[in-house]
Symmetry: D2
Subunit: 372 residues, 4 copies
């Protein structure tokens, strides 16, 4: 996916170094070489903002603690950011998006769009008035097999869609300390909005269900619960759904379903076939055509038509294992030997050569045992 | 894994833009922000080298077509490369590694170490004489769960190791056009070395078996076959193995086992337990302690002790789906709308907000159907 | 499970030789040697009843075409049936059960209990007045791992139950010819009752959900659909459920979900753990205790406490493969050689002996190749 | 599979009531109604023989403690056994088979054929001289999907066979008390023969490999080990195999591979496709045709052509769950209420009817919550 194009100058709001999702966005932005992170308001606390900026390699003069200052200052620079990533708690999405869009800076924002419906409508108007793009990281739509599923449905492989079954089951809230930062803002309606699990993960399931099925929602019937008792917000929700055109479905999202780490699962059935995508096994897609055995389609496999960085059988994750070696090699190169025993070098290379040599010899001699 | 440290200046030999493994190395080097690619001899063909350099963003004055020139020129610069990645066919590993090591430049080389045993021994001597590091990308050892498996074995969870069963099954050679570049050098003993499948993938299985088990090989008995008939080199191999200390094992590697994409699988059994790692499902590890039910350990899960970029349940690959969105967003930002219909924006955000609002309303009204 | 006790004399109503479920009941009754089938009204058509009786080995004088005649006649015999199995369409369950219960004959009836609620209430009164037992073949509760799941929940391993997710997905109705006998009575409200899929399979899912969780249903909210258009009865249904004590759940049953053969799946979550049972993999049970990795419990495995016919690892089905050999051997013994090429005999035995001998020899000679 | 034919009179040698495999044979013989067990020498100990005979329902005058006596006595009766099942330790297979075959009684014997090669050859001659059949319970060939695999290979779906990978991994010997009866005879070369694991389970894997692939063995190279130290016999073995016509393979059998219950797995690869059968998931078969995605074929599924007792999705084991209910119902009918709380009756039936009624009502009223 390398393009040879100039890197886009990127800023970030939120995502201080102890926030997992900020780091994910930075890695994602680096991976294909499309962006250069040049500015950030990584925390509203000045000391944390400075420290975080330093750790992610920002220059001090482009490390801000106030997003509004950052929007103005960057817009005024010739080499100011062209796009900004927003990874704050939900209630700030509106104000931050507005600040940058009004400066003509493209916005890449975590979902949900805003914390309230009123903010969402207002933001839509801001976005329409701005020349800049407003983009949302419904990241699960980036999986090659989620896109392949959408392609199959759109191409008619499932016929008329009848059912969309959506699930997103986690259990981390069953372990959560409500005073923990990650849990705290999600449990607070003032920061999170009206939805608990439905906002945090239900929207992902709904978005992915629509993305794959190509359908539009029509109505729902819901039963929300809060089992944990830490908040008034739901930590489990059941819904029955109706889609335009007559399809039906259910949506279950939970953050207290013990034994589920991040089980986002979408099943779609039509009158000609069915499919199932599960994000914990993102390299595959179950696909059934009426009258045929089930097929296990794979990313990059025989019938795949999407884009990939790496061939079939090398799962998404292959590239991260590679990156981990590079990261650990960087440690060695910089003189840090703490991981040296984990890292392959000349000795591992010699062992491999001895292996090849012995195998060829043993085979040539009729399968006798040859020492390594 | 962000460190705030200065980026290491990296060069690359081989890996022109149509070589998949070169791109994998570049992405891996970028992911954690540890390296900056500043020079390369991406092809020995001057025109291809220049074009490839341009596409990966190298400056023309640091784009070389001869690796020896590159080693000399970079060593002479104040801002010359500190490390070089070698992703050439096997027969060049020795000469390229030697050229850079002799200049004191760290080497990160694809496996196998060299094409011949003689070259391997010579390179070991060069490496010993050099102050620079010699590192090998046995990339499968970078998987968090492969490392977790090694940790469990080293900590005694399996007791005394009795068995190591190693498999690496692919089928791509059953589809290969022997005149295709990827296939051609692998089929040519002059470029590939004495081993076919055993060198290309058998060494990976052997390396990972040793890495996880902590054992050292002692002897083997081999039966090599060439079913495809494109070459004298093996495309399938069976081996029985003996390890120091009395453990035994088998190794099967194949490039013609139809239905297997990249099935690298390691099973280790001791007198107190057993485990299984499969690289096509790299987020998990089957682990049995004698007298207990099998456990499915997960990357980042309840008992995990390694390093991760992202929490449990977000598979390796999650971050790539994220990166794909960022890459496609970059296209939109640069004015390319070809993927716009795949990308979530304000409309997807509004749909999500409507979903949350309707769910809360339906629940509040006793589960009535509410329009979306 | 052999007891040495005298066999119970069993009759059957319904279950003529082309009805799959009748044969299943007969095999099940034979398996542990507890019953002897001695009488039957296998069809209301006299010719089919006689032919079916002959094929299942009934004596002509105990082959009936009218169930009421059978109930009277058998009750009058000293060696009359002690129990009767009812495998008719649903609308006959009430009348047949009543006829036998009133004669003091135990009833083993397929679910649902009756076709209408009124019949159910009436039958309950009949059963109370009768000294005979009224037993229902909610057969999925007979799986060892379904019982193990119930045992774990009852023992508190999951803590307070919060969620019960029930699914039963099939696709056979998407293939059904509505004029086919199996489909026809299910599509006819007069024979099937008010429920389509909800009666045919939804009741199984609900029953198994209650069986495993130990809960009692409190209320539900339902959305029924009929996608196939062959009937006014539902072929797909979504429900949200509330249980006494505060637990919640969903139930999805479908007979048109392409790619699902008979996916009955129950997931139960409490505040201390979770479990999942899937009847298509009935030898296993996923079990999570809070703070521990997921465990894959197996029938007969390390922590299993139920009854089994065969040890762990020999799946349910092992015994049927054995029975198939015995059945095919019976053919050979009776002189039918059509399956002879499938059946192991002296030649297979000799091959096995040669294998053992060669293996011992090769090993003794240091692993040389030894001819078979 | 009911035929309406007269039942074959069956005897049994070995298989006293605490021997698991004897009970499996008896259930298998009963399942399709083809046999009636009428005589047995279930133990060589007279008291155990009598007690075992009583428990399996034999008449005392046909309960023997000496197999030779039994063979003579049964041959002399008009209603004597037509066939005998032999489930003794291996070293008795020869003498018992001979005794019955010489009386013209068909023999159904557990594998291996005999304990020694000399016995095997002698038995072959006896069998040839006898008019009776000699049948071997290589029971894994009775699985519908093992037969389907054989059918696919025979029909050319895999092209020319290149590879047969055979595994049979257990762990029970790692738990075995060597003084336990099941372990003791297997550990004793005098009773078991020259092979330990290779005889007990290796022969099954080899037999099933040949059965599915249709190949004939040519040569092998073996490495046997005894890790447990309880015996001189192997408890783990590795082999490389050559088949007539050029195919190759490996065979691994182990009884000390912790975490494996009974993992008999056969993979076959040809130049047009590949397949995998695993007996722990006997209802399915992975099948790949060159150039197509992997298919998961199922017993009774869309392309299946074999015989089944029950439809697809109802796994082998469904029928056993059914039988368990019947067995427990028999307890209730006989007055034993110890399992009554596990068994569905009127109450479960009423709950099901309430479920159907509530679902129909809720749906009719627009999805309101309806009490159960």
């Amino acid at each position: 996916m390398e393009t040879g194009e100039r890197k886009i100058r990127l800023g970030m709001v939120g995502g201080g170094v102890d926030a997992f999702i900020g780091a994910v966005h930075r890695i994602a932005a680096r991976m294909d070489g499309d962006y250069e992170l040049v500015a950030g308001a990584l925390s509203s606390d000045a000391i944390r903002a400075a420290e975080s900026g330093r750790l992610v390699g920002l220059s001090p003069d482009r490390t801000y603690s106030d997003f509004a200052d950052m929007a103005r200052a960057e817009a005024a620079r010739d080499d100011g950011v062209e796009a900004v990533t927003i990874v704050t708690p939900n209630h700030l999405h509106y104000a931050v998006s507005k600040a940058f869009l009004e400066q003509g800076i493209h916005v890449i924002c975590d979902k949900p769009l805003t914390a309230t419906m009123a903010d969402a409508i207002a933001l839509r108007d801001v976005a329409r008035a701005s020349g800049a793009k407003s983009l949302l990281t419904h990241n699960y739509t980036g999986y090659p097999m989620a896109r392949e599923a959408r392609r199959l449905v759109a191409g008619g492989a499932l016929g008329n869609i009848r059912l969309v079954q959506m699930e997103y089951a986690q259990d981390w809230m069953a372990y959560a300390d409500p005073t923990n930062k990650q849990a705290a803002w999600r449990l607070d309606p003032a920061q999170s909005g009206a939805g608990g699990a439905i906002g945090d993960i239900g929207t992902h399931a709904y978005n992915l269900g629509l993305f794959i099925s190509g359908l539009t929602g029509e109505a729902l019937s819901a039963d929300l619960q809060c089992f944990g008792g830490h908040s008034t917000l739901d930590d489990n929700a059941h819904m029955m759904m109706r889609f335009q055109g007559g399809a039906r479905g259910t949506l279950w999202c939970s953050q207290i379903a013990l034994g589920n780490e991040n089980r986002l699962n979408i099943r779609v059935f039509g009158d000609k076939g069915g499919l199932e995508f599960d994000q914990e096994n993102p390299n595959q897609l179950w696909f059934t055509q009426k009258g045929q055995p089930r097929q296990l389609l794979t990313r990059g496999g025989q019938t795949f038509q999407g884009d990939v960085r790496i061939p079939s059988g090398h799962p998404e994750g292959f590239i991260e294992a590679f990156a981990t070696l590079y990261h650990d090699f960087a440690g060695v190169i910089r003189g840090d030997d703490t991981k040296a025993d984990l890292l392959p070098g000349i000795d591992a290379g010699m062992a491999g050569m001895e292996f090849i040599t012995a195998a060829v010899q043993s085979n040539a001699k009729g399968g006798v045992w040859v020492d390594l």
